[in-house]
Amino acid sequence: MRVKASVPVWDWLVRATHWLIAAIVIANLFVIDSALRLHRWLGYAALALMLIRIAWGFVGSVHARFSDWFPTPGRLLPYLKLMTRGREPRVRGHNPVGAVMMLALWTLLAVLGVTGFLLGTDRFFGDEDLQYLHEWLALALRNCVLVHLAGAVLESVRHRENLIVSMITGRKRP
């Protein structure tokens, strides 16, 4: 096997928050009984990790920063146009479409956190409408995670690099 040169892309905080939030989301969606106090505390932990990651978007390493990946129309539209032709360029950091998904996932996490918090208050405890909304958001999050994963696999195949392993090692080819 030939030795491949690689460069650091995802710093430790990006990777740690990514996988910790992923683990919490999987635990809270599929494993833990949502009536348990643990469900609530894991939810708050995910919110805290997300806020740390967002703060890191201002002070972290190059590809962690909003300035590097925020999907402005100027970045997003040309990329989308190329994508429809199956010719989107390789982006070392977050590509603009992946970035839209990040923002969607963060929004869902935030609203899940707020509705979850409210369900723990005496005012909304057992409130069926709010429970329904919280569940709907949970399903939406699950579906977005599936699309996020599909996107990672698609771009991995297109550009012949394992993006899932990159999110573990933090490295990519130059």
């Binding site: 999987i26 969606l29 599929f30 494993v31 833990i32 009984d33 949502s34 009536a35 348990l36 106090r37 723990g120 005496d122 405890f125 057992g126 409130d127 069926e128 569940e135 949970a138 399903l139 699950r142 995670v145 599936l146 994963l149 696999v153 991995s156 195949v157 394992n162 899932i164 392993v165």
Partner: protein, 88 residues
């Protein structure tokens, strides 16, 4: 580690059902269930303040407050009103 293997494992996990709060209550025929009004009255007599009381699978489910005002979510046997599960 190859991409397909990781991805297939994750998709299987992610495509499964969400975990909901539930309790394993014994199934009784509907005509043996305690009437909802009676069940409510009994809970109130025991000192619970009812926020919501409803059928949940084979159980009755209460969201409310105990005598001390603490939140309680309790699943009851629909016939005997015995506590099946208290969410903690």
């Amino acid at each position: 580690m190859n991409i397909p293997r990781i991805a297939i494992a994750l998709v299987c996990l992610l495509a499964s059902n969400l975990s909901y709060a539930w309790a394993d209550c014994k199934a009784h025929p509907k005509n043996e269930w305690m009437k909802e009004a009676d069940a409510r009255a009994r809970l109130e007599k025991e000192g619970y303040k009812i926020k919501s009381f409803k059928t949940s699978g084979e159980c009755y489910e209460l969201y409310g407050f105990d005598k001390k005002g603490a939140q309680v979510e309790i699943y009851f046997d629909a016939k005997t009103m015995a506590v099946v599960k208290r969410a903690e």
